[in-house]
Amino acid sequence: MSHKMSRRVFTMLFLLSLVVSAIYPDLAAAQPKKGGTLRVGLYHDATSMDPGTSTNVPGLRVRNQIYETLLAWDKDINLQPMLADRYDVSADGLTYTFALRKGVKFHDGSLFTAEDVKYTFERLLKVSPRKSNLAMIDHIDVLDPQTVRFRLKQAGPLFLQGVALWFSQITPRQNTEQQLQKHGQILDPVGTGPYKVAEWKRGQQIRLVRFSDYVPRPEPASGLAGQKVAYLDEVIYIPIKENKIRMLSLEQGEVDYVQQVPPEEAQRLAADPNIEVKSVPGTNWSAIYFNATLKPTSSKAMRQAIALAINYDELNKAAFWGRGTVNNSLIPEPQANWRTPEHKVGFKPDPQRVKRLLQEAGYQGEELIFQTSNEPVYDLISQNLQAQLKRSGINLKLNVLESAAHGASLYIRSSQNKTPTWHMGLLVSMAFRPDPDMHYYTRGHSSAHVGFWKSDAYDALVEKARTVQNAPERRRLYAQAHQMLLEDVPFIVLMDEPYIDAYRKTVKGVQVLDPHMDIFWGVWLEK
């Protein structure tokens, strides 16, 4: 190609690029770029960030950038490899062998090996408040620096979910031991994630910086899995507990991203041309428990009447400004891999049937004690339910307590082995659980239902479902369990709560996945 010719081609290409960028400005802007600081308004203090001992949820959101697990969930809530490259299961389902990624480093510079995996899980089994989720582990063997083998006491589908859960984030053996010996606690979180902690001023801010030795996985980014590219130089988490002030901080540009936008604020923020509001169907749900030991809620007809007297759309509008998703099943809509057509069937308001059922239950208008809390969402739900049920002649007496006292009253069975004194108890923001067993068994089994409801058929079904390995078969069993719950109504799942984040429009590449999981890899700033 002659010199003159190449100049002509260059000029043509240049003009073409100008035309393209003029017609499609977003295309030019959509290129991720490195640099900048993302300031995040955290809705509460992160009090602890030790995966071994902490159950602090705000801390978990920060930890998600710092630590990694052997397996991770993609955006469709399927398990994908993360620190493990692959795993093999023995024929009897009792032995899992994980081949680990090579060349992965911790933030302190040490190499990630099988010893760290063994150490992490053995520590969890000793000190973790959630150790029962891993109780099936019998022992762990290091086969070589990149291979680790778990031997289980009993086979079942829950082990892999436990390996991917947030408390199973891998910590370096040597560093963790040193910190525990020196301080008795983890003050300096060290993981393998794309961001590392540069500064932690308790109650003020947590400053994360890009981990330069991080090597992303080759698979495309999806949810918590796949490629994690840290474009941002820094992510600064700033606790702003007061909702109004957190929203104002975003509007004023004092922070770039806020979590947990109250539904009533979302409308106002969305009108701001500089702010993007992302509302996604959440994986949290709200429910009403019934006490099966007290009349009249011990009667199935009474429970059915209450379930059919509620207009769930109206409740959604009153409590969540219509941003929730009406769903009467324990499996939220985003968890599509576990939902069957049966799960879409719920309660339809039916005033005529409610009348007949109330007669059948012998209900004479006596007051039902409804245990609830003074937190704003509880308040909205409780008051709307009280008003709705009143229209059907069902009288609720609200017993409003501060949230810790409400929790103690609601779970009095598990905490003190006593029967509750309430007829109905409200549960909100029941968080995402990856496996249906974590709700169907732990909420409905007769050994766990907080209102002492008991059904031998239901118990047998959920006990079987937790031992079956075959996923389609488990789906079928949980569809049956859902039908049983709709018929017997030991509790009413009211709806899936919305999950709303908001951010300045200069923040790009945002994935809003789940309440407990900030994803700030793949995010960049356009400034």
Binding site: G184, L401, A408, Y411
Partner: protein
């Protein structure tokens, strides 16, 4: 004097033990279970029991109290159930921020209240007096959190002069420190100033009528000297008492302001600890605040002897 201080300190010990017993007992009888808060709603009875044993909550309340007291007497307030950090460390880290806020608010209230109270008293019945009284009444009526929101709206949202929230230590620069602390200190200080101004006015109104003030005037002393040197110095005892009480109140009631302005002080630590039933932190913070409060009262009492030489302690 020394005997008096010793007696007061012995009294302080009694108050301190009484508070420790009341707080410890109250917390154990208030509904709420730290194990449920830590483990979440799906915890099994077995898990809850294991955690309670680990946290030492299964023993009798007197046994728990005895163990806690033994540790406290050795300077150990225990470990936070939530953060796993020593309570002393948590308090010492946050106390300076609450003290800074309380001190700045007190200075603001003094700077505004004393001159206003004095002017209102000296010019009793004039438009100045009426004006100050009305403003002071408004200040007493308005809760500090409402004033805080109004100040935020005016200075942070509309005028954008001061930051909405947050805290920066004075080591980042005194001006930066002041920028962040001005609004919370004003929200407190203005409300306190209203009460203090009214107290100053009442104390001064009584004093300016007395013979020694008339004598001072008749000697031909300048009005400023009469008011500030003779009258005000004799009206100081009730004012100092109120300032002392206010400082104590500020320390104990910074909760709302710290929450609104995101100041990581002792107040916000206490609120979070109560919500999470973090017993060691609640006990430690309340014991610390009670100690500060009683010491402050002692200092106020001792200052009377300095302000009025006729007062003797023995």
């Amino acid at each position: 004097m020394n005997m008096y201080i010793a007696r007061r300190l012995a009294g302080l010990l009694f108050v301190w033990v009484a508070i420790a017993i009341v707080v410890f007992a109250l917390l154990r009888f208030v509904p709420g279970d730290p194990a449920i808060i830590l483990l979440g709603s799906e915890a099994t009875p077995k898990q809850l029991e294991e955690l309670r044993i680990q946290l030492g909550l299964t023993r009798s309340v007197p046994a728990q109290f005895a163990e806690w007291m033994t540790h406290v007497l050795h300077g150990d307030l225990g470990t936070s159930l939530l953060s796993k950090r020593p309570v002393v460390e948590e308090i010492l880290e946050r106390l300076p921020r609450s003290l800074e806020l309380a001190t700045l608010a007190s200075i603001i209230s003094l700077v505004i209240a004393i001159p206003c109270g004095v002017i209102a008293a000296v010019r009793r019945g004039t438009i100045w007096d009426q004006g100050f009284l009305s403003v002071a009444l408004f200040g007493i009526c308005i809760p500090s959190f409402v004033l805080a929101l109004l100040l935020i709206f005016l200075f942070s949202v509309e005028l954008r002069w001061l930051p909405l929230r947050g805290y920066r230590p004075w080591t980042d620069g005194v001006l930066v420190w002041l920028r962040y602390l001005t609004l919370p200190a004003l929200a407190y200080g203005l409300v306190q100033a209203a009460e203090l101004a009214r107290m100053t006015r009442s104390a001064m109104v009584e004093i300016v009528e007395l013979d020694f003030v008339r004598t001072a005037r008749s000697k031909g002393l300048p009005e400023r000297t009469v008011v500030y040197r003779h009258a005000l110095s004799n009206a100081l005892i009730p004012i100092v008492t109120l300032v002392g009480i206010n400082l104590g109140v500020l320390l104990t009631s910074t909760v709302v302001i710290e929450y609104i302005f995101g100041i990581p002080g002792v107040g916000s630590l206490l609120v979070d600890a109560i919500r999470n039933r973090d017993y060691p932190v609640v006990q430690g913070v309340i014991l610390g605040i009670a100690t500060l409060y009683t010491l402050l009262n002692l200092l106020v009492d001792l200052s009377y002897a300095y302000l009025d030489p006729r007062i003797r302690y023995g």
